[in-house]
Amino acid sequence: MQKLAAPKIEVKALNAWFKQNHALRNVSLTVPENSVLAIIGPSGCGKSTFVRCLNRMHELVPGARQSGKVLVDGQDLHARRVDPVNLRRRVGMVFQRPNPFPTMSIFDNVVAGLKLNGVHGDYPQLVESSLRQAALWDEVKDRLRHSALSLSGGQQQRLCIARALAVEPEVLLMDEPASALDPIATARIEELIRELRESLTIVIVTHNMQQAARVSDATAFFYMGELIEHGSTEQIFTNPREPRTEDYVTGKFG
């Protein structure tokens, strides 16, 4: 991590509310390009809220507000001429529980992001490359027209990743992507993250500290809506500066 990578994402004094609940307090951090940032913290600390502010999904919740700036490639996401729908194609998201579209086949699921928006292209080629990137091609290449629900949990999650990759995002947000999966499926997803790092910038929210330690370059620890500490993953897990970080990471919380 010695290269001077330009910050892909910059967050400045971000605050977020759900009606009266002040969910995020004055959060500022940067994420360099082609790196993986892990976000850790106890339940309810604002991890998911933070990540949803990065692709403007937060504002879709009724009663939600935010202030502060979020910049991707130096461009303010809330600038007047920024279309939130378009933004979500550049900043993709994968969720905790695999959620393939149940009425569509595997093939249709992968190109859903394009088909639904009327974007034309060489679909078969795109499906193959997305599924290859998600390390799922070999397992499903003979049954692309089968329903997406015929896959196992781990495969469905990789399908959702392929679907997100098909729209060619620059940033991928992952909200606890492996928490519903068994250890082998989890290991595959983690390996996938390491490979994707070459072409994307990734922000991953996780409950699992060992996972954060395995896949990320930098880690941010959140507690009660505040960013307590943000540093290299190695430093956070071997020698954290803040006592609350130390307590969380060694299991002295609660």
Partner: protein, 278 residues
């Protein structure tokens, strides 16, 4: 050990009581089917399904026009009622968490409790009087009013059943809200909605009272919406209250035909839901 034997005994007793209750519940259904089939089967023939009623005194004739009329009037009801009902349901599910939405829901509840004959009279006042004639259209309107509340509630429930995660997944891909509602949410709920439509069609096909003041009856074939039309239910009524015993037999046969029609529609509804929901 003693308590185990006692528990087994109580288990047997309760199972027995439940079976008894089931039999009691089945008795009216079975006796109804038995009665209708035994009295009506004899009158069934190819001409019964395809011919129009014969004048008084002549033998033969059938309920061909009544079957067609039922399908025609119910078809008009669908054309009016399905878009309104499903549309209302979609609106309530997507944007209905407001006072306005609550009032719509309340209205639907009230409307679904209104007796069908009252709906018929209202349709008389709203359609028949201005048009100065009885018509299939009026019948369709009356039946549509009966269909809309249940369709709206069912559609709303079904759409709410679609997991929010699917909506989120679509939005996160950069698909706009309205397209998400239409092509993802609605499409996922479509199977259930088809079933709901088929079931309300089956119900509408069995209504008599609203048709009495709206589509009236017709002894001939009719495909014009502004003319009175025959329907199975009204035909059964007419046959049954007549003084002629042959017509009473015809009533039983018509009832059997109606049961077959409604049964077929219900089965189709079940088949549709079995295929679409994995």
């Amino acid at each position: 050990m003693k308590s185990l034997a006692r528990r087994r005994a109580v288990n047997w007793l309760m199972t027995g009581l439940c079976a008894l209750a089931l039999s009691a519940a089945l008795v009216p259904l079975v006796s109804l089917l038995w009665l209708v089939i035994s009295r009506g089967f004899a009158g069934l023939s190819w001409s019964f399904f395809t011919a129009i009623p014969a004048p008084v005194g002549e033998t033969g004739g059938g309920v061909g026009n009544a079957i067609a009329g039922t399908l025609y009037v119910v078809g008009i009801a669908c054309l009016i009622g399905v878009p309104i009902g499903v549309g209302a349901g979609v609106y309530l599910a997507e944007r209905g968490d407001t006072r306005f939405g609550d009032s719509i829901r309340f209205t639907a509840e009230v409307l679904s409790g209104v007796p069908s004959i009252v709906v018929g009279i209202v349709a008389y006042g709203l359609v028949v009087l201005p048009m100065r004639r009885f018509s299939a259209l009026a019948g369709g309107v009356a039946l549509a009013v009966l269909m809309v509340p249940t369709l709206a509630r069912s559609t709303e429930e079904l759409i709410r059943l679609v997991p929010g995660s699917l909506r989120e997944a679509s939005l996160a891909l950069g698909v706009p809200q309205w397209r998400t509602s239409l092509r993802i949410v609605l499409r996922t709920a479509l199977g259930g909605i088809m079933t709901a439509i088929l079931l309300s069609v089956a119900r509408a096909a069995g209504e008599t009272a609203p048709l009495l003041f709206t589509s009236l009856n017709n002894q001939f074939w009719n495909w014009r919406p502004d003319q009175p039309t025959a329907s199975l239910t009204v035909q059964i009524f007419n046959y049954a209250v007549s003084p002629y015993p042959e017509w009473h037999d015809k009533a039983w046969s018509s009832a059997l035909v109606l049961l077959l029609l409604v049964g077929a529609l219900s089965l189709m509804g079940r088949w549709a839901s079995r295929k679409k929901f994995r």
